[in-house]
Symmetry: C2
Subunit: 169 residues, 2 copies
């Protein structure tokens, strides 16, 4: 089964992200707007309880924190993904690194760039148009994070939440 770990930002940030995703992100209907903490990984279904227990410890050891979103950025030229950049504060970095240790698959050595995707899989021409318009937008959010979620993927590509982990709890 395929699992992933993510933070859902507040409703207002999700609504704002969706106003762009609706047009520019083919994953719009598969999962709500999110900050990925751990990219999708394969694990046996039976492992899920063990992963949950481990995530419970990680959540308990993490105080709620605030994230800052101040601009629209992109992964170009690597991919044509456009996103709300989330300032990479230490709490996010620590969560991400704990989820790549111990029983969790390490998943290569990608550097962690916290973000909320608002556009992806664009052609080069679409990307130029959309990014030049979106990068001018005044985006400013500060958002309290007090939980994250473990999700699994269904056959149609959509994601269902398995469990929620409240920070400092």
């Amino acid at each position: 089964m395929k699992f992933g770990i993510a933070i859902f930002p507040s409703k207002s940030v999700q609504d704002e992200a969706n106003s762009y995703r609706k047009r520019y992100d083919p994953h719009y209907s598969l999962i709500p707007p999110h900050i990925t903490l751990k990219t999708p990984f394969e694990a046996e279904e039976e492992l899920i309880k063990e992963l949950s227990t481990e995530l419970r410890y990680i959540a308990k050891d993490t105080k709620p924190f605030t994230v800052y979103i101040n601009k629209v950025s992109s992964f170009a030229p690597v991919t044509n993904t456009i996103y709300f950049k989330v300032e990479p504060i230490q709490s996010l970095i620590d969560l991400n690194s704990h989820m790549h240790e111990g029983i969790f698959p390490a998943q290569g050595k990608h550097s962690f760039v916290p973000h909320i995707t608002i556009a992806q899989n664009l052609t080069d021409d679409e990307f130029s148009d959309v990014f030049s318009s979106l990068r001018m937008k005044k985006i400013q959010f500060q958002d309290k994070v007090d939980r994250f979620h473990l999700l699994y993927q269904l056959e149609n590509g959509s994601w269902t939440v398995y469990d929620s982990f409240v920070l400092g709890n």
Copy 2:
């Protein structure tokens, strides 16, 4: 803000339900297949922590249980909704009734019919066609339920999980 409370059945039941929802349910992309425990209700965003605390108690007092799904049924002639009928065992009935007491809005006197919607908003002709074919399907699942989820609705109509409540925990 609009909230709802639901159980997500196992991945295999969700995949099976989605194979019909994809064609026949306009809510297909708004929420994964689910058993509604409490239909959408309006509540102040600030109330959410209080609701969570209360739901934590309800979950703690409920042992994990098994649900049985043995046939496709419909709400016709009231609505053209078609669903997997979930046998109304006492644990489900108790969960539902606890969620209509105390700080939770009572929401009228609808009787509780546990189900997983697979088709809705069909025209009368579509309904006749689809239901006469689906009611012949051999559907048989028994599914362990060990948690439920509190969700809120975004502006686009989709649902995000706020918190998960593990039974007997």
